[in-house]
Amino acid sequence: MLAYIIRRLIYAIPILMGVNLITFLLFFVVNTPDDMARAQLGDKYVTGEAIELWKETNGYHQPLFFNDKEEGLTALTETIFFNKSISLFTFDFGQSESGRDITSDVSQRVWPSVMFALPTLLIGLWVNICIALLVVMFRNTGLEKAFVISFVGLMSVSYLFYIIGGQYLVTRLWNLVPVSGFQTGLDSFRFLVLPVAIGVIAGTGAGARLYRTLFLEEADQDYARTARAKGVSEVTVLFRHILPNAMIPILTNIVIVIPMLFMGSLVMESFFGIPGLGSYMIDALKSQDFAIVRTMVFIGSVLYIIGLIATDISYTLVDPRVRLN
């Protein structure tokens, strides 16, 4: 197992390099170092010298990929790409273009993101499973049909609508929770309850529907039929037999999502003013802060790869037949 994980981690290196290259290309085809300097220095009275100075002190004065003034290998190392990439791989994120320490910002902002995303995931999972079980219990009745159609109906509403509608009703008309913002500690409950509720409701349609099919598949298996034939009540069949078996695909599907929770939700965070990583990234894109964008993409891909590895491991844990090699 350990050998497998190590090997997968080594495989991750070329992927991260690829990601880094793509970020770099996408960013610098759109922006030049001059643009970045202007974005930082403002538009008024900025002289060419000021821009050159900025580029030099921030390390953007070199060529992007190939330095034809240098000989041999230094032609590749004395470039923006090399110098900016090398520090990333040592997890030294350095400073943003405006001079803030990125690591401290990220470690501060990750918590609000997680505090929103984790409850949304867990409560959503719980609600979806409950509803799906309920529907399975009433399978082949009118109730089931009504539920399934309403799942599809819920799925067909744009995510933005849940947010706009929920925010409008709960905060503007009913004054139940603050419109937006964030506070630490116990107080955070008031700020998170609405976004979490909206997140859960918005996910119910798709989630409950998926789990319903998973449960239904198990419900027709021989072991379930046998249990019923023995006179076990439907509730016991559902909870003792079907639920544990269906949990395996549900949980293995969720493992890949968990690392991404740290990245935060972009739309939710900006609507509800949660100072998490999602809004951090958008701010950086808007202010053309390459150092932050690059770091966030890098962290994102690392988390994604961790998710992939964790999924594979979780398969072996739930199913002894699967071997990692």
Binding site: G42, E49, S98, L176, G181, F182
Partner: protein, 724 residues
């Protein structure tokens, strides 16, 4: 099982209720009231974007000025109430004493043709001290306590509050000079380094010298001399600038010229501080009315009263009408009135606005995002201009407005083959478009009246912009019934015919005239584009929009690769020179191959001559005459065809007083007054939670289980029966 689930829901509901009621006051209060001392007067507001810089040498954005201008005090400032804007001494005891020098730096009269330098001598007020700060703390031997040589010693210091002790020291004239040298230091990346070097004597030489200096950590700028700076005694210093630049006084009212104590600079250069964001760019050290006690740009920034603030008093005189508006009720009282100002991060406009209406923000309008979108709902255009809607009046919200010294304009590229050029035909073409483009309607629809239609490059309230009939643009407007009325479309069509485009067609070929407007992709919308196309359609001209991102937009401007464009200018100081230079020929980016500001590439020799003449003149009648001539020239040539002068507002909740919008200065927090009692009462009144939907929702949810359980039981029985 169902019962168990139901109990679980019940439990969840109960916990929710308990948690919610556990908080004092209304449920939707976004502030943490418990963290605030009840005896303090607190002002609540927000910031929209995490500020990037608090270093007065670097910061150059309105959002940041909102905060640091309360902390740093430059030599001069603006009078809070008087309009037109008036400079007054702030850290200085009196206005600077200006002398004129020749090449040998000998004093000569100001009207002499040999003037090559102007020398500004500034004397400071007595008894100004810095805010308490760890940088000033000395031990019994007189050495500084918080000076470290190694990173390991500083690992425990993460924020400014981790330093146990603070101290202060008196302001010295040298601190002002230190800051100017900091601007010159290329290491600090000051945006104005290039611009100020054109004026301040010796600045570029110092920059060149500092570039070559090897540095390790802190560089003591006191050891470097700069030719134009002189410390006369501890309260007096002088700055020498090149040539005559009467507007330099206005620069002295900006935070770039605020004092920085060298101790602070050295303190923040302690090893390892930078990694914890302990920098001057992050924790300001000033002499102003407030000091920053918490800086968490991801959540909130807190300013608190500076205990060492000098004696400062509320102004005793104001503009006409201020007394009636109650703005002089506190005349002569000691400022500041507020103990603490809490700025929370709130990016989106809608939540910001909602919180203001709920009473959680005291004022609305401190951020510009508010102006564009939400004043829509608060303001209507009454017969007398903008007024508050009935709903706002019902809440006793007050409005304070001011015309910003800014102009948003749309112009032609004068180098363009179709719309550019200085022949009579081209002038008429541009005039026709200028008439057809109904800026009054634009302001009504898209700005809800919060702007004044364009009449020329100088906004109202700035010298040179005239009131009433004398101030209208006679090429686009007529004066009727005491009002400026836009000329008719028929007249514009006639001009267009004379320009060689009858009905918008080329007189020779019949080809429809098609024009291109470059816009910024972020700043446009479908409805705006539709409206814009409709303006030219009135003349039969087709308009095509070219939306691009900001960088490309700038690039088009600098290469002259545009036909029509829109742009804006926010003046640094309220002087016509700061607007008229936008049309000065050599400022054209195409001509100077630089980042010039004359995006229209307007280059009229007459205008250029007048501008050069007017630039060095002292304000007065003579200068005003020149300005009138220049305005007339511009109006005939029409390099800019439409635009507006934006207004700025504060909407104030009823418990806020002493608030008057100042178009330039942001350092007005010290005058603001808040009645916390009224606020508390109104907040409670306005934010009664409506529990009905919550309870109803819960009941429906529970009620749904009853038939479900029944159906389940029935079914369970049914199965058993058939089995048997």
């Amino acid at each position: 099982m169902m019962n168990r689930k139901a109990t679980r829901y019940l439990a969840a509901t109960l916990t929710t209720a308990i948690l919610l009621t556990g908080c004092s006051g209304p449920w939707n209060n976004p502030h943490q009231e418990s963290s605030v001392n009840q005896n303090q007067t607190v002002y609540y507001t927000n910031f929209q974007l995490p500020p990037q810089h608090f270093d007065p040498a670097i910061s150059y954005s309105t959002d940041e000025s909102m905060l640091i201008d309360q902390i740093y005090e430059p030599p001069l400032g603006y009078h809070f109430l008087k309009r037109p804007y008036e400079l007054e001494p702030l850290a200085a005891e009196s206005m600077p004493d200006v002398r004129y020098l020749n090449t040998n730096r000998e004093e000569i009269p100001s009207d002499s043709p040999d003037v090559t330098f102007s020398k500004y001598t500034i004397t400071l007020k007595e008894g100004i001290d810095y805010q308490p700060h760890p940088a000033f703390v000395k031990n019994s031997e007189g050495g500084y306590v918080y000076l470290f040589t190694d990173e390991s010693e500083t690992a425990n210091y993460r924020t400014l509050s981790d330093f146990g002790q603070t101290a202060t020291r008196g302001l010295d004239a040298d601190d002002f000079l230190y800051q100017i040298k900091r601007i010159a230091d290329p290491h600090n990346k000051a945006p104005l380094i290039g611009f100020l070097a054109q004026y301040i004597d010796g600045m570029s030489e110092l920059t060149a010298e500092l570039k070559t200096v090897e540095r390790d950590g802190w560089l003591d700028l006191r050891e470097f001399k700069m030719r134009g700076l002189e410390r006369i005694d501890e309260r007096t210093f002088s700055i020498t600038i090149k040539g005559i630049y009467p507007q330099f006084s206005y620069w002295l009212a900006m935070h770039f010229f605020a004092p920085i104590p060298w101790e602070a600079d050295r303190f923040y250069n302690n090893p390892g501080f930078k990694d914890n964001n302990l920098t001057l760019d992050w924790y300001p050290v000033g002499t102003g009315a407030y000091m920053m006690t918490r800086n968490d740009p991801n959540r909130e920034i807190i300013l608190e009263r500076n205990p060492n603030f000098r004696d400062d008093f509320y102004p005793t005189e104001g503009a006409p009408g201020d007394k009636e508006a109650g703005l002089l009720a506190d005349a002569g009282a000691k400022v500041p009135f507020i103990d603490k100002a809490i700025y929370s991060l709130d990016k989106e406009v809608l939540p910001m606005w909602t919180k203001f209406l709920q009473g959680y923000y005291d004022r609305s309008g401190e951020n510009h995002g508010n102006v564009t979108q939400n004043f829509d709902q608060a303001l209507t255009i009454g017969p007398e201009g903008v007024e508050l809607t009935a709903e706002m009046q019902g809440r006793e919200i007050t409005l304070s407005q001011d015309v910003k010294p800014a102009v948003y304009y749309m112009g032609f590229n004068m180098l363009d083959d179709v719309v550019g050029g200085y022949s009579t035909e081209k002038q008429k073409l541009r005039q026709a478009i200028s008439i057809a483009w109904n800026s009054e309607e634009y302001i009504e629809i898209f700005r809800n009246g919060s702007a004044i239609p364009f009449m020329g490059p100088i906004p109202p309230g700035i010298e040179g912009s005239l009131k009433g009939e004398a101030g209208i643009n006679t090429y686009t407007h007529d004066w009727k019934n005491g009002k400026a009325v836009r000329k008719s479309i028929e007249y514009a069509k006639q001009l267009l015919t004379e320009a060689g485009y009858p009905n918008g067609r080329d007189a020779k070929t019949g080809k429809p005239l098609k024009l291109y407007l470059d816009v910024q992709a972020q700043a446009t919308s479908k409805s705006l584009e539709d409206w814009q196309k409709r303006q030219l359609k009135k003349l039969g001209i087709e308009l095509e929009l070219r939306a691009t991102d900001w960088n490309r937009y700038k690039e088009k401007m600098s290469t002259g690769n545009h036909q029509m464009f829109s742009y804006g200018w926010l003046a640094d100081y309220p002087d016509p020179e700061n607007f008229l230079f936008l049309l000065y020929g050599p400022q054209s980016p195409v001509a100077c191959q630089c980042d010039g500001n004359n995006n229209a590439n307007y280059d009229n020799p007459d205008y250029n001559k007048l501008y050069k003449q007017m630039k060095t003149m002292q304000p007065g009648l003579e200068r005003n005459q020149l300005i009138a001539e220049m305005l007339d020239q511009v109006r005939a040539d029409v390099p800019w065809f439409t635009g507006e002068y934006p207004k700025e507002y504060y909407l104030n909740n009823q418990w806020v007083s002493n608030t008057k919008r100042h178009g330039i200065s942001k350092a007005t927090l010290k005058y603001l007054k808040i009645d916390s009692e009224v606020r508390k009462q109104k907040q409670a009144e306005w934010n009664q939670p409506n529990l009905v939907p919550l309870v109803a929702g819960m009941s429906i949810f529970v009620a749904l289980f009853v038939p479900a359980i029944r159906a389940y039981r029935r079914r369970q029985k049914l199965v058993i029966n058939t089995d048997k």
